[in-house]
């Protein structure tokens, strides 16, 4: 019962946005809380798509998110393996300094300055590079635990079988910690996909804008177009909803961190 209430509490705003996306501006102004069952306006989506150039922005978002989250996942694995296996001195120190990153706020002004200096401002590569880091800490924490639960003898058996370091990671470790990799990737993806401050601070060229920046256009000057804003929000979040629904089972597995059956 309490669960249902909590779900409702979180679901209502979402449902409200979906409802708004189908309302005409007139209906919205007249009776914003009544579902537009008599006259739904699927045309809102087309208008929003065209008006804000959502197509290009959605492609930008997908590109930034997938590449940044993918890189973060690979790097997290490359950090987590030697840390989890204590292959070097100071593994514990590396682990704690990365894990601290989970709790630090993003220093946006220094990041902006840094981006200007390093020529990472207002270009695709820079935007991706600057979005890799936020995905790493959680990945390192999750993957270190997952890797620690894989018997060390597997490493040794593989080295005796003739596997090199990267080959071992790819052929043995990656399949065994796949749930951990998936959650690292999805978490990173979510962060880049939903970032709204990043595009405002780090990008100026509209051709480079991700979809969150596009949605932002419906604020301010076109303030009355709340229904188009809602439609754009639905477009922006639908891919994520589908992605999470599709990987739900593996995500549940990942929460049982390091559940490797030998």
């Amino acid at each position: 019962m309490a669960g249902a209430l909590i779900v409702l509490l979180f679901l209502l705003p979402v449902l409200y946005v979906v409802m708004l996306a189908f309302e005409s501006p007139a209906h919205f102004l007249r009776s914003p809380l009544i579902p537009p069952i008599a006259s739904p306006r699927p045309g809102n989506f087309r208008s929003a798509w065209a008006q804000a150039g959502l197509g290009v922005e959605l492609a930008n978002t997908a590109l930034y998110s997938i590449l940044a989250a993918g890189l973060a996942t690979v790097l997290a694995l490359l950090i987590a393996f030697p840390v989890g296996r204590r292959l070097m001195r100071g593994a514990g120190l590396i682990y704690s300094s990365v894990a601290v990153g989970l709790f630090l706020p993003l220093a946006i002004i220094p990041l902006f300055v840094e981006a200007r200096y390093l020529d990472l401002w207002n270009n695709r590569i820079g935007y991706i590079v600057l979005h890799v880091e936020p995905g790493i800490p959680l990945g390192v924490v999750l993957l270190t635990a997952a890797i620690a639960s894989v018997p060390k003898e597997l490493d040794e058996a593989a080295f005796m079988d003739g596997a090199g370091y990267l080959r071992y990671l790819w052929s043995v470790m990656v399949p065994l910690v796949r749930p951990g990799l998936l959650i690292t990737f999805l978490y990173g993806l979510l962060g880049v996909w939903n970032d709204i401050i990043g595009p405002v601070v780090l990008l100026a060229n509209p051709n480079l804008f991700p979809i969150t920046r596009g949605i932002y256009q419906f604020y301010g000057a076109n303030e009355r177009e709340r229904t188009l804003l809602a439609a754009a929000i639905v477009v922006a979040s639908l891919p994520l909803v589908v992605l999470f629904a599709a990987t739900q089972r593996q995500l549940i597995q990942a929460t049982a961190v390091g559940a490797v059956k030998a």
């Binding site: 003898e153 005796m160 052929s171 490797v260």
Partner: protein, 384 residues
């Protein structure tokens, strides 16, 4: 195929702990060498040094004629079976066995052929598409063997490969591992803490204690002529009965508590060193089967003890008795429950028809020819 030579091989950990101390060992091509000892004696460390999984702190390790001290496991041409099998859980039996071949970039058809061949030898053909999680312990053990043999290495290393199996399967796999090893004729180093495995499987057995190689010999020599108290007590089950005894001045007999045992001329000839210890304390060792029940008094030497417990095994009786001599314990050599033995307890292995009853006074013949003598101070066997 190759032999393995260890010369003064040592392992010192960064914290200064010496796990293996100047071990000299030679494993001939095709030989089955068993390393045995109580836990923590350095046997696994020694094996891992041969494997290349641990650095060698000192000495020389040769495989064939090549010094391999600084080669990685990959370049040593060895295969290892791990205690927990270390199978790749996400690969099928076939993929597990073929992984090393795949890494060598052999053609697919050849990998398949070799994997099938190995699976046939091990009786795994019908499980070839299963994952390790779907197999029983014995089958997993066989997959681990398959992964080792498919590579046709010059040396096999096995680290307690049977210890995760139940007792019945262990006996069965013991024979099977031996059979496969003889068939392939590859030099094998096998680590175990189980002296029965060591005795039944090894061509030769190397007994280790505290990082030091105590004795390396074929199982019968080890049993009949242990070099010190530790080896005597470690090999054999039930363990050797070890007592303090005092030789008489001419070393023609000894006092075992309040009882006297006469030593025949043959014993004194075989062990001239005894003469020098006349009147001194020594440690004697008597295996349970060298203490037959002596109701007919046909034995020249008889000791008497209070029978405390009789274990009937069908083929024999294990008689636990007590005499008034002091029992000697070789530290680390015996199981914990045996350490709990007090005073002059001992075990005799007697004929099942012998009329021995708990609470009675038992008479046991002493096979003085097979009696072992050890120096009371150093624990070394007394011979010359």
């Amino acid at each position: 195929m190759a032999n393995i030579t260890l010369e003064q091989v040592s392992k010192v950990y960064p914290n200064g702990f010496k796990a293996v101390k100047e071990v000299d060992l030679d494993v001939a091509d095709g030989e089955f060498m068993v390393l045995v000892g109580p836990s923590g004696c350095g046997k696994t460390t020694l094996l891992r040094m041969v494997a290349g999984l641990e650095d060698i702190s000192g000495g020389t390790l040769k495989i064939g004629e090549k010094v391999v001290n600084d080669l990685g496991p990959k370049e040593r041409d060895i295969a290892m079976v791990f205690q927990n099998y270390a199978l790749y859980p996400h690969m099928t039996v076939g993929e597990n066995i073929g992984f090393a071949l795949k890494l060598r970039k052999l053609p697919k058809a050849e990998i398949q052929r070799k994997v099938k061949e190995a699976a046939d030898i091990l009786g795994l053909t019908e499980w070839i598409d299963r994952k390790p999680g779907q197999l029983s312990g014995g089958q997993r053990q066989r997959v681990a063997m398959g992964r080792a043999i498919v590579r046709e290495p010059s040396v096999f290393l096995m680290d307690e490969p049977l210890s995760n199996l139940d007792a019945k399967l262990r006996v069965q796999m013991r024979a099977e591992v031996s059979r496969i090893q003889r068939r392939l004729g590859v030099a094998t180093v096998y680590v175990t803490h189980d002296q029965v495995e060591a005795m039944t499987m090894g061509d030769r057995v190397a007994v280790m204690r505290d990082g030091v190689l105590q004795q390396c010999a074929d199982p019968q020599t080890l049993y009949d002529h242990p070099v010190n108290i530790f080896v005597g007590a470690f090999i054999g089950s039930p363990a050797m009965n070890l007592y303090e005894a005092v030789l008489d001045d001419a070393a023609a007999g000894l006092a075992l508590g309040s009882q006297h045992v006469t030593l025949p001329e043959t014993v004194r000839v075989a062990r001239p060193g005894l003469a020098r210890l006349g009147g001194k304390q020594v440690v004697i060792g008597l295996r349970p089967e060298h203490l037959p029940a002596a109701e007919d008094a046909a034995h020249a030497n008889v000791i008497e003890g209070d029978v405390e417990l009789v274990e009937a095994l069908g083929s024999e009786l294990l008689v636990h008795f007590n005499i008034d001599a002091t029992r000697v314990l070789a530290e680390g050599a015996t199981d914990k429950d045996e350490v709990a033995m007090r005073g002059g307890e001992g075990v005799a292995r007697v004929d099942p028809r012998a009329p021995v009853k708990p609470g009675s006074r038992g008479r046991f013949g002493v096979d003085t020819e097979r009696m072992q003598f050890f120096d009371a101070g150093s624990g070394q066997a007394i011979w010359g």
